[in-house]
């Protein structure tokens, strides 16, 4: 996350086109060809708009992750009541016995 790499990535942005299929795969959303086309266009446009921030010199600027600085918000190690299983499993799209059931997992899903 040093400024060197930041600069390099920004320089490369203009020539990059968003790989919508790859991103959709990461986000686990199936897209139709029409959506690939449409979203690709819209997101490309949006990226052009957001690229204005690359003009700002932020080399010495810290990143804001939290607007109100706060530290060490921790809970005591105490057990609290859980939800009852009937409620939990009543939400399940598919349950089997005491479990949630999902279709087969293919290793790459991890």
């Amino acid at each position: 996350m040093n400024s060197q790499s930041t600069k390099r990535s920004i320089l490369s942005l203009s020539s990059d086109k968003i790989d919508i299929r790859y991103v959709a795969k990461l986000a686990r959303i199936a897209l139709t060809d029409d959506e690939v086309q449409r979203f690709g266009q819209q997101l490309g446009d949006l990226l052009e708009h957001v690229n204005v921030i690359s003009k700002l010199d932020t080399d010495s600027i810290p990143a804001t992750a939290q607007v109100v600085e706060s530290r060490n918000v921790e809970r005591e190690d105490e057990v609290r009541p859980c939800l009852d299983r009937k409620t939990v499993l009543s939400m399940a799209p598919q349950a089997q016995g005491s479990f949630f059931r999902v279709p087969r997992i293919i290793a790459e899903d991890g």
């Binding site: 490369s12 942005l13 708009h49 810290p62 939290q66 109100v68 409620t87 939990v88 949630f100 279709p103």
Partner: protein, 498 residues
Amino acid sequence: MSTVERSGVDVARAVNAREISAREVTDATLGQIDAVDERLGAYLTRLHDMARAAADRVDARIAGGEKLAMAGVPVAVKDNMCLAGTRTTCGSKILENWIAPYTGTAVQRILDAGGIPVGKSNMDEFAMGSSCENSALLQTRNPLDLSRVPGGSSGGSAAAVSAHLAAVGLGSDTGGSIREPGAFCGVVGFKPTYGRVSRYGLIAFASSLDQIGPLTRTVEDAALAYDVMAGYDPMDSTSIDRPLEPTFSALRDDLRGKRIGIVKEFETGKLGAAIDAVYKQAYRDLEKLGAELIEVSLPTADYGLATYYLIAPAECSSNLARFDGVRYGLRVEGNDVGEMYEATRAAGFGPEVKRRILIGTYALSSGYYDAYYVKAQKVRTLIGDDFKKAFATCDLIACPAASSPAFVSGAKSDPYSMYLMDYYTIPMSLAGLPALSVPCGSVSVEGKSVPMGLQLCAPIFAERELLSAAHAYEKATMHYKNNKLDVSLHRAPTGNLV
């Protein structure tokens, strides 16, 4: 004044004084909802039984000698807030039938204070939108002009409050989602400092920006609801653990000694002569109340939109991963888990949600993280610094609450033109500042009067100052009194509106 038109403060006073029962207020409100919401579409779910039961409990507590801050006040709960036993959809097909098994902190505090949940209000899907048109489940109309949008994403709560279907509407604001619909519907929309109100039980859009706040017809009601909801919550690590000063009791009638910053970069001339005139008048009114107007500069505010459309989608791409068809909500079957995920999320999310998940995923992905996400977080620092500099010379900032008044449904088909609606509200969100919109007049469009909102913004934690100033302005101008509900609202359903 009819029961449903009473302010929240007035209802609570009357119920505590046993002039009227919570049950009577509730029944009147539910009656009004049943009479007009078919055409308005403010509520996704009406909570007749729960509201009546809650009202009876409040009446019993009052009878037992208790005093409750929000006794009998009818409340619209935005449908991204969990309320145990109610359908909580987030305006999305993916949660269309999900019943929340728990109640979020802010809602619980409202209930404990005697507030009555009359319904779950419509919203842009997952709070992404500025017109409520992104709801996958219902169309909400602007009660002042049914052809127009109510704004968004808290459009249902804004419409409900404006149409007297609740005294208090709970909203959530990520980039303007309380303030903009407030402006569109001619009501007050108040976003507190980030972290003032617990997010526990608020379905996340962008965690570092989301903040719950009230939509009300008066500033007093906003202060009332805020005082009830605000305060540290051990269930939300980002909620602020510092003393809370009550705002309601500190509301003033004047602005003497206050320096109000007018943002140089937010010159309203570019919004058109009519709009410009409304804001210029509003600034003059502030001056008349004793405030000193000072020009301030927010040079990086113009980068707010770009910054926001990297940070908010990045966070949302991660926050919305959990909607995967495994534990709750919609599932579309597939041959394996991967197919199931992709089919579920393809069917469950609408186009705007998909766009934001995709852009956010991209902004966080390998090779782009520094250039987009980290860069945006740094610009966020710059924007915050600009506000700090400005607040060194002024107590409050005044500017427009939205780029335009409420527009006609379907008018903004291009996503980016919709994003521009939040141009004036996003910088405050990025800086975590408390800000509100208060009615400041109207413009005449096609012979109809469409309300406008003035945005006031204060330094972090200065809710008291902010609400006090807004109250003084409201009291002096009374613009909300000019709101006229669309005459078609009370007509028999014609079919073509719904």
